[in-house]
């Protein structure tokens, strides 16, 4: 063996040892020095934290009958990053779901920064359409179904509201409360007010997954934090009375009725006609459907009890009267100007609703026959700014604080308001005449009216109207924790209160009273009619507000119908039926 051969094997040996020493040092660094670092990565590789959404609390009436329930639904999601053929997908969705190209475009644009997240494309997909999409799903890898809890309102009542997918702005606001994109939350009505009670708390599961992200069901049972279901909500609503009231109002195109228990402020029934099916909002509502709802002249989306503001007409008269009494500009027995079918104020003739006239009346009789002239005359003795403040203190202007979102306030002008509009030298005289009988610029909602009369029924104590009765289930909180109704004394003396009550009693119970229809056997009924002139149509808005007492006042009812005629002849019979129903079915069964 030559020396050069020895050199060759020597060089090869050197190469070999250097090579392996290099590998060994790398292995040492990788496995020993940085071993725990890579162990962490390996664990992250296969461990996923999966959010388990909670079950939303259901909503029940005062006797545990369900109003809003959870139902299993199938929702369709889209993962923008996995769209293969956009054109084909657009046509496919158009054909099976009626999702237009523009809608898809908008959805994808909203989710442009999150191409690998799922975006809710269509909630509550009907089963037959699910099947058709699932058949073609291998062509559209961007689409995926999820079985989720959906929501169903069992009655179409405005106050229940509905839930919907979280919007961008809501997400920004609520992300800190553990809200996620694609999550549903209350969008309107009680669903919105009591979102945090109903929602519950999401749980988390640690799942072991393989390289394709499939769960292996390994760690599932020992490493998890279960979701906490939302609280069940019990309302003060009585489902039977609610349904009965709905039935009574159904012949009317645009109407509202609200029934309150004056002792608590709890709402027993609440109907705004026309109703609409909120469940439509929990599917994906098509543009066409939406447009139909918006274009409907009867405005079904409007909750008339809460958001409708109307001239109160004669139901406003107790406010005018009580201010007169409290400011000592009249006495209960004082008779004012004689009504001969109207009254001349300045250069204008103001008619009374009864063209035959009422003659001269004292206060309680003026309320009983709803004589306009009495109040025309009274208005000249009242200061407008004081009057506005009075109206406010009696709860006719500010939001009532009811547990519903988006209430509208009422309106009553003051002198500044007129000066701003008509200039300094305006004469307020004529305007005050109109305001005295709840006409002119005065506006209020049926809810405001009902609360005021409930307070009169309740010995002058005004209570915040509310739906919340209690929560059912774990960690149940009482009404005081979740919703604290206020109560305050109306700014009227006992004397004034009893005069008003006498007048309102006469309306129902004496000869010539405008609301005699509303008498109920065995009960003492107080009430006030109203027929408010308005610019919406020829016929007046019909108002009737009343309450019924047995040993104590138990039920206050406001019925309101747009452009339906006289309160006494149209609204009062409906209110009477509600009182009757209550007397017959609910007093024995409280």
């Amino acid at each position: 063996m030559s020396s050069s051969d020895r050199t060759i094997t020597g060089v090869l040996r050197l190469f070999l040892l250097v090579g392996f020493a290099t590998l060994a040092s790398y292995l040492f660094n990788l496995q020993v020095v940085r071993g725990s670092y890579y162990q962490g990565i390996a664990e992250n590789n296969y461990v996923r934290l999966v959010r388990v959404p909670p079950v939303r609390g259901e909503i029940f009436d005062r006797r545990n009958r369900p109003l809003v329930v959870n139902i299993p639904t199938t929702n369709l999601y889209i993962t923008p990053g996995r769209i293969e053929n956009r054109q084909l997908l657009t046509r496919f969705l158009q054909r099976h779901l009626g999702v237009s190209a523009v809608e898809l475009e908008e959805l994808l644009f909203e989710n442009r920064f999150n191409p690998h997240g799922d975006a809710l494309l269509f909630a509550n997909v009907p089963f037959n359409i699910c099947v058709r999409i699932a058949e073609n799903q291998n062509y559209y890898p961007s689409l995926s179904f999820r079985r989720e809890n959906g929501r169903r309102n069992l009655i179409p009542a405005h106050f229940l509201g509905y839930i919907g997918g979280i919007g961008e702005e809501e997400y920004q606001r609520l992300a800190a409360l553990d809200y996620k994109r694609n999550e549903f939350l209350g969008k309107a009505g009680l669903e919105k007010t009591y979102e945090l009670l109903l929602r519950g708390e999401a749980g988390y599961e640690v799942r072991q997954v393989d390289a394709r992200g499939m769960s292996l069901d390994l760690l599932r049972h020992n490493l998890q934090k279960g979701p906490k279901p939302g609280l069940q909500l019990m309302l003060t609503i009585d489902l039977e009375l609610q349904n009965y009231t709905r039935e009574l109002l159904s012949p009317y195109e645009r109407a509202a009725a609200v029934v309150i228990d004056p002792r608590t402020g709890g709402v027993l029934a609440w109907v705004s006609q026309p109703e609409f099916d909120q469940n439509r909002f929990m599917r994906r509502i098509s543009n066409q459907e939406w447009q139909e709802l918006m274009d409907n002249p009867a405005r079904p989306l409007l909750d008339r009890v809460l958001q409708g503001t109307y001239p109160p007409g004669s139901v406003f008269k107790p406010i005018t009267a009580s201010l007169g009494l409290e400011r000592n500009v009249i006495t209960p027995d004082e008779k004012l100007a004689s009504c001969n079918g109207g009254m001349q104020v300045g250069n204008r003739w103001f008619a009374c609703w009864n063209e035959h006239g009422h003659g001269r009346s004292a206060l309680t009789d003026a309320i009983k026959v709803s004589c306009d002239v009495y109040f025309y005359d009274l208005s000249s003795r009242l200061d407008l700014d004081d009057w506005q403040e009075w109206t406010r203190q009696n709860g006719w202007i500010d939001e009532t604080g009811i547990d519903l979102p988006s209430q509208r306030s009422g309106f009553f002008p003051n002198s500044d308001w007129y000066i701003e509009r008509f200039g300094r030298d305006i004469s307020l005289r004529g305007h005050k005449v109109n305001l005295a009988i709840g006409q002119g610029e005065a506006l209020t909602s049926p809810l405001h009216v009902c609360c005021y009369y409930a307070a009169l029924a309740n010995g002058g104590t005004w209570r915040t109207p509310h739906f919340f009765r209690k929560v059912i289930g774990e960690n149940a909180s009482s009404v005081n924790q979740a919703f604290a109704p206020e109560q305050r004394r109306l700014p009227i003396s006992e004397r004034t209160l009893s005069v008003l009550r006498e007048g309102l009693w006469k309306v129902v119970n004496e000869e010539r009273g405008t609301g005699q229809v509303a008498q109920v056997e065995g009960a003492v009924v107080y009430g006030k009619t109203g027929s408010a002139e308005n610019h919406q149509g020829e016929l007046t808005h019909a108002w009737f507000v009343c309450w019924a007492e047995w040993n104590e006042p138990e039920i206050a009812v406001t019925v309101f119908m747009e452009n339906a005629g006289h309160g006494g002849s149209v609204a009062a019979p409906v209110a009477k039926q509600i009182l009757d129903y209550y007397a017959r079915n609910m007093r024995t069964n409280p």
Binding site: L12, L23, Y26, Q39, N45, Y46
Partner: protein, 403 residues
């Protein structure tokens, strides 16, 4: 006939083969919870092991001078097979396998050994001039390298480069010239930094000067190296983006963790997470949950690293080092040039594949698709590697007759 066998070499070979079966068993098993599922690859590998050992016994028993007759015909036949394989449908984008019923044969594996044997035959002729030697070596290694590169299988083609250098060295070609042949490659590697290149050129010139080469030769070599250095960036710019990407991803796997760098990254995570002692036989999470690609073939070293830790990888590497050192020891004892060329050639491709495959698993080299000898799943590879070692046993046995 005296049958003198190098028992140490044989035992090391058998240990590696046993290690390989264990590795393939765990690599083809999926254990999730208490639920163990093993695919049949290790069984097929056991059959191949039986066949390979039988072939080895037969080969050792056939007299060398009879074997020698088949060197060149085998070489020609293998070249034909390498041509034929291009006509078969591609699997995974490469025409690499001959499909014979249930068998999938890889002629490029066979070509490694056969090329070594042909080179031994051609280069051991006495009184060859250096030029003739170089030409023969280039031809005998170049032809299969080109055919394999067409498949395409760049990794295997590179193996022929290693074989080429080894057989040249073993046949007495001066080491200085081998060094000069390799020098442009080193120039390419220095392309990333000017000072490095300057330093390298100084070393090169110094070595040439020390070996008393004439000025013209020194300048020619210098010019070639400078030219290569200057041309490489131009070539780089002419590469297609995906080719550039592949190289860049190799340099930094993290730049595309879900794309080209995925395999490298997952392999590194697997090995690293094995730590000192490993996660235990069958218990590798990267493997069980299929994060690790090509678990039973190219990336089987990562499975070993994950389940047996640093101790396991060091044991395996030590086995390889011992085997290769033993082969070098045998080479040192061989008298005949032809024998030395065979042993050195086999040494070269085994060592090259081990180094490249492990480097690839560690993310030190681009993913080339070279299996880890004796460990990776694959019948052709196991058979050829075993026969390679058998040839060394054979020539070791022969040396007793030489004198």
């Amino acid at each position: 006939m005296q049958t003198k066998i190098d028992i140490v070499l044989l035992v090391l070979l058998l240990m590696l083969i046993v290690a390989g079966v264990l590795a393939i068993y765990t690599a083809s098993a999926t254990r999730i919870g208490e639920d163990l599922h093993v695919r049949g690859q290790y069984l097929r590998q056991l059959i191949w092991i039986a066949l390979s050992l039988a072939a080895m016994v037969m080969l050792v028993r056939i007299p060398y001078r009879i074997l020698e007759i088949f060197f060149m015909p085998m070489y020609v036949m293998t070249l034909l097979l390498l041509g034929l394989v291009l006509l078969f449908p591609a699997i995974g984008g490469a025409h690499r396998w001959l499909l014979l019923g249930p068998l999938r044969l890889q002629p490029s594996e066979l070509a490694k050994l056969v090329t070594v044997l042909a080179a031994a035959k051609l280069l051991s002729k006495p009184h060859l001039k250096h030029g003739q030697m170089l030409l023969r070596a280039v031809l005998v290694c170049g032809l299969p390298a080109i055919l394999v590169a067409i498949e395409p299988d760049l990794g295997t083609a590179l193996v022929f480069g290693a074989v080429f250098l080894a057989v040249l060295l073993a046949s007495g070609f001066p080491m200085l010239y081998v060094f000069l042949l390799v020098s442009p490659l080193i120039s390419v590697l220095t392309v990333l930094s000017w000072p490095l290149f300057v330093a390298w050129m100084l070393i090169l010139v110094l070595i040439l000067y020390r070996n008393k080469l004439t000025v013209p030769i020194i300048s020619i070599i210098g010019v070639v190296n400078v030219f290569v250095f200057l041309v490489t960036p131009v070539l780089w710019r002419n590469l297609k983006p995906y080719q550039q990407n592949r190289i860049l991803t190799f340099l930094d796997p993290g730049r595309d963790p879900l794309g080209a760098g995925y395999q490298t990254l997952q392999a590194r995570i697997a090995i690293g997470s094995g730590g000192m002692t490993g996660k235990g036989f069958l218990l590798g999470t990267q493997k069980n949950l299929e994060f690790l690609p090509e678990r039973h073939t190219d990336f089987i070293f990562s499975v070993v690293g994950e389940e047996f830790g640093f101790i396991g990888t060091m044991l395996l590497l030590t086995l390889f080092v011992l085997l290769l050192l033993r082969i070098l020891r045998v080479i040192g004892q061989l008298q005949q040039r032809q024998h030395r060329i065979i042993a050195t050639g086999v040494f070269a491709y085994l060592a090259f594949q081990v180094l490249v495959n492990v480097s690839m698993n560690l993310g030190l080299m681009p993913i080339t698709g070279l299996p880890l000898p004796f460990i990776s799943y694959g019948g052709s590879s196991l058979m050829v590697n075993t026969l390679g070692v058998a040839m060394i046993l054979k020539v070791f046995q022969e040396k007793s007759f030489a004198k």
